[in-house]
Amino acid sequence: MSERRLADLLAMWRIRAFEEKVRDLRAEGPIVGSVHLCIGQEAIPVGACGELEPHDALFATYRGHGWALARGVPARPLFAELMGRASGVNGGRGGSAYFTAADHGFHGENSIVGAGAPIACGAALAGRFDGSHRVAVSVFGDGAMNQGAVHEAMNFAAAFSLPVVFVCENNRYSELTPIADMVRAPRLADRAAAYGIPGHRIDGNDAEAVRFHVRDALEVAREGGGPTLLECMTERLVGHYIGDAETYRRPGELERVRRREPIARLREGLLADGVPAADLDAVERRARAEMAAAAEAALAEPPADPATAREHLYA
């Protein structure tokens, strides 16, 4: 048990170390433009991705670096993508907010809020005809729950019993605005009932809880039971994007968030179980060293070739 939790800790540290490195590179210059970090939300991808089969499809959002890493996309071509290198997963065409890595079962971030949900339905639909019976996982934030496309997708998946798991990462803010102010019924998982599908609000800061519910939802989906909505409660430790002044935070909010964020919580749990602090520190050091090496390697790679900017528009 503590072995799996140690593995979760390592996986979460890899994501956090990746994101913190991205933050540094954004400040130093090699990464430019709009970047959305998932610091504080690492338990959701870590808990969910381990349950997926290679042929399953995963559709994430612009806050998707952690999902890509958890799905097994190597850090080096991800850093390279963010830095506009030819060796990036999309040769620099996707950037931070819109890359894909289909070879790893990562069918893309999406920088349009909620747009991935209908696309995930199509991936699930395809699996019904190609014999793979793949499950499609559609990840989005609480804000996307107010997008028409997500409503259409949930009804579409429900009507046709498509194997889709809708993972809503509820970090309490729709970009810069509290989701609580943008809905009348704050339990987003309750909307599932309107589609006639199961919906659960779960602790999204506990990888084990996420794993348990995702496994269940996948099983239902694989058996033909149709989609499930999982509302994973979590919190960002950072702004909506790098540069967000976070003026919307209440006094003391971030201190409270830090006490319940997934890595601190898991560390506390492991300490209580008797795992030596030195072992836990070693996990963090290992993750940071891996990410530093990956970033350094990507930094040394050549930029994308301007001569290729018009390629791959049409077959």
Binding site: A102, I112, P118, L313
Partner: protein, 327 residues
């Protein structure tokens, strides 16, 4: 050869595609069991079962799922009942489908076909009358075509579905139930692109597409009786667009008119004129665009007819063009 109406030709193409490409799916609002509001998808559900199905009235879900299914190796052929309805889900066409190949560097593709129909017909309201091809033609990554004959309705759809890129096939409901014409339904179809010289002529080049082709041909015959010999080039493929053929013809006749049902400002006619001008083709008179004026579309037929170009207006404007700049 089979004698088919335009609508029957689309139906024949769909049957062929379902037969020869097992990865095709046909879906959209009312296309399965009812066979489509214009009967164009009739018989597919019966013959191909689950591969042809009805959907909720959810254009984002229809188009988005087509993108996802296409990314995973299917060839969905989805119907958007009226082109006007595509506007509620433009994100899935412009932000999603058109980006898949480019952003992934070709590792993912989105070979979906969107069938829709557009244009004015008597009594259609302002939200069921628009000609929107220019919107889609502005978007790199999409292919766009507009058939006007039963043979092209058949060929363009077959070509579109075999194409590995997202393609919009914009049909016209006033043509679905027109007269039957012989259609080649076996063997290879005409390749993507190209222009059709519907009438050879030497005095003026008239470029057109979609249902307007029929008005232009009627006008050309009337003009011939008055001594004006118009060359009518129909360009059923707008992306890719056969610029070379248009330039060659305009260079030969020295006069150019572009006719489309869409309203003039920002219409594709402007692009055609710009390409000919940009190529330095010497013209005897400034080129003209004939289209619907920049207004909304009224429902009353008497009002709509005052706006949508017809043969009489084409005759009048082309006659004026042939007199302009004459020595």
């Amino acid at each position: 050869m089979r004698d088919l109406t335009y609508g029957e030709a689309v139906n024949a193409a769909l049957h062929r595609l379902m037969e020869e490409l097992p990865e095709t799916l046909v879906y959209g609002e009312d296309v399965g069991v009812p066979g489509g509001v214009f009967g164009v998808t009739r018989g597919l559900r019966k013959q191909y079962g689950e591969r042809a199905f009805d959907t909720p009235i959810s254009e984002s879900a229809i188009l988005g799922s087509a993108v996802g299914a296409a990314m995973m190796g299917r060839r969905p052929i989805v119907e958007i009942m009226w082109a006007d309805f595509s506007l509620v889900a433009l994100d899935q066409i412009v932000n999603q489908a058109a980006n898949v190949r480019y952003v992934s560097g070709g590792r993912l593709t989105a070979p979906l076909t969107i069938r829709t129909q557009q244009g004015n017909a008597p009594g259609a309201c302002a939200q069921h009358s628009q000609c929107l091809e220019a919107l889609f033609l502005h978007v790199p990554g999409l292919r766009v075509c507009m058939p006007s004959t039963p043979q092209d309705a058949y060929d363009l759809l077959v070509t579109a579905v075999h194409c590995d890129d997202p393609v919009l096939v914009v049909e016209n409901r006033t043509l679905y139930f027109g007269r039957k014409e012989p259609v080649r339904t076996d063997g290879p179809v005409q390749p993507m692109g190209g222009a059709r010289t519907r009438r050879a002529g030497s005095d003026v080049t008239v470029v057109t597409w979609g249902a307007m082709t029929h008005q232009v041909l009627e006008a050309a015959e009337a003009l011939a009786r008055e001594g004006v010999d118009a060359e009518v080039l129909e360009t059923p493929w707008l992306n890719p667009f056969d610029t070379e053929t248009v330039i060659e013809s305009a260079g030969r006749t020295g006069r150019l008119a572009v006719v489309h049902e869409a309203n003039v400002t920002g219409g594709f006619g402007a692009e055609v004129v710009a390409r000919v001008a940009g190529a330095g083709v010497p013209l005897a008179a400034p080129p003209i665009r004939i289209g619907t004026p920049d207004v909304r579309m009224p429902a009353a037929p008497v009002l709509a007819q005052a706006l949508v170009p017809d043969a009489a207006r084409v005759i009048e404007e082309v006659k004026r063009l042939t007199k302009a700049g004459a020595p």
